[in-house]
């Protein structure tokens, strides 16, 4: 049995999803010969640290009962630097201004010799090259499947399954909120504002929706794709971004009359990065509905490969995080 010690930095919806997923997969992991031991968990109020392994069930119920996992006040950085472990899992909220606290957590983890698994887009969209170099310089794994398209394994697919292929272009729908709004506008002939309100009531959209409907979230994901797959060193400012706020029900109807739908499409082709509403034929593989995400990858050997699935949700995101953790556990 291989014991892999983990610090879980952030214990919101995704962090708790990771904990409960690891609990539910305990037998499976045992069969794989992997013992995942959580030695530190933090949230905004404090932390729990136990070098012999935290009782995840107790941690989840304490969080539910008291609003915090905290039993002590060791900070995330103190845990990352001073508590012995192999993998730091950063699931802190995305911050696109300076990437903190995720950026500091990740750089500290690499400095302390920890592999990093994350769902946090901010640091990768802002400083991908720096993070990647820090991982490489220290001979550590840097895995971030959960940052783009939730459960859909885009990076695993390209780097592992399609290894040897040259990717010539990627198109995708990477923001579930926009896709939901456009789908509802099409199906119910709803005006944009009403569809947005419905998305907010269902918890698919934030109170301030700009980040999603302005195309910013999709652009950040496209930047991560461009860096990871094309190694372009692109940042958010290199993306030509148009959101969905100006889309009218009439435009969707005109599209529909001509067997098309309008989708917020991310595109990385010929060195240009673009997020914009686009016409997609109804029967095209990119024309997925609801909150689904999709990525269509054009390669030289395999041709075009398209995958779609759930782009959000705590368990779906935890699926990608667990996959990254298992990958590292198998390779260390």
């Amino acid at each position: 049995m291989k014991t892999v010690r983990i610090s879980l930095i952030g214990f919101g919806a995704v962090g708790q999803g990771v904990a409960s997923t690891v609990l539910s997969k305990r037998d499976f992991l045992k069969k794989q010969g992997i013992d995942l031991r959580f030695v530190g968990i933090t949230d905004s109020k404090g932390s729990e640290v136990d070098e012999n392994g935290i009782d995840l069930e107790a941690a989840i119920s304490r969080k539910k009962d008291t609003g915090s996992v905290a039993t002590g006040d060791m900070t995330a950085l103190e845990i990352i630097r001073n508590v012995k472990h192999e993998i730091m899992v950063d699931v802190t909220p995305t911050n696109i201004d300076d990437g903190e606290p995720g950026l500091g957590n990740m750089l500290s983890a690499f400095g302390a010799g920890r592999h990093v698994v994350t769902s946090n887009k901010g640091p990768l969209a802002l400083r991908f090259s720096e993070l990647n170099e820090a991982a490489e310089d220290n001979g550590l794994f840097f895995r971030y499947e959960a940052t783009v398209a939730g459960a859909v394994p885009i990076f695993n697919l390209v780097h592992e399954a399609l290894a040897g292929n040259t990717v010539t272009g990627i198109e995708g729908i990477l923001n579930g909120t926009c896709n939901y709004i456009l789908t509802r506008m099409t199906e119910e002939r709803m005006p944009y504002k009403l569809a947005l309100k419905e998305a907010q009531e269902l918890g698919f959209a934030e109170t301030d929706p700009t980040y999603d409907v302005g195309g910013i979230d999709a652009a950040l994901k496209l930047v991560i794709i461009a860096n990871s797959i094309f190694g372009t060193g692109a940042t958010y400012h290199d993306v030509d971004v148009t959101g969905i706020t100006k889309i009218t029900p009439e435009a969707l109807e005109l599209a529909s009359n001509n067997n098309s739908v309008i989708k917020l499409v991310c595109e990385a082709v010929n060195g240009t990065l673009k997020v914009a509403p686009r016409l997609v034929p109804k029967r095209h593989p990119l024309a997925v509905g609801g909150t689904l995400n999709v990525a269509s990858i054009q390669t030289d050997l395999a041709g075009r490969i398209t995958i779609s699935g759930k782009g959000a949700g705590s368990i779906e995101t935890a699926s990608s995080i667990l996959s990254d953790i298992i990958y590292i556990a198998r390779h260390v």
Binding site: T168, G169, E171, T242, K246, I247, T248, E250, A251, E253, L254, A255, N257, N258, S260, I262, V265, E267, V269, A276, P277, R278, L279, V280, P281, H284, P285, L286, S296, Q298, G303, R304
Partner: protein, 170 residues
């Protein structure tokens, strides 16, 4: 209609003007001329390919005039608009002079707007339009889209283009 015509000119000065003048006279819009000076025909004439737009009813008369002036018309063919794309525009389409927007494409000679559906929900609300643009080839279609992007940008219209469909595999 767009016509592609192969003419044979005598190898003496002034023949090209002799060939092109009648096309203009018959209100033809010349889009391209390929003059193959080094490729003489067995008859010693020089082949020239001319692409132009002209009303169908005037074509026969033009051909006759060319032949009379000593220009041999070796081939006449209709150049079809083979490439097609559809787009959607959103914004104050009518008030930003829709005629001008369409004109910018039609006046290229190599592309034209062949279909337009317009939806105007209210005076103060943005309109939505569905346009089909045809062009002589994909290259010309790209040029037409570039023009449309520029016009949309200037008139603050949202242009929604079709995803690339020709990148294979779909």
């Amino acid at each position: 209609m767009i016509i592609s015509m192969t003419l044979e000119l005598k190898d003496i000065p002034g023949q090209l003007v002799l060939a092109l003048e009648p096309i203009s006279e018959f209100q033809g819009n010349i889009m391209g001329v390929v003059h193959q000076h080094e490729e003489k025909t067995p008859r010693g004439t020089i082949p020239v390919q001319v692409m132009f737009e002209i009303e169908q009813s005037r074509l026969a008369e033009l051909t006759e005039r060319l032949e009379k002036s000593g220009v041999r018309v070796a081939r006449v063919g209709e150049e079809r608009l083979r490439s097609s794309v559809y787009v959607i525009l959103i914004g104050h389409i009518v008030h930003s002079d829709m005629g001008d927007t369409i004109d910018k494409i039609d006046s290229t000679g190599f592309a034209e707007v062949v279909e337009l559906s317009l939806s105007m929900p209210g005076i103060d609300k943005p309109s939505s339009a569905y346009l089909v643009i045809n062009a002589v080839s994909d290259r010309e279609l790209d040029k037409a889209l570039d023009i449309l992007r520029d016009v949309a940008n200037r008139k603050e219209l949202l242009l929604i283009e079709t995803i690339r469909l020709n990148s294979g595999g779909t």
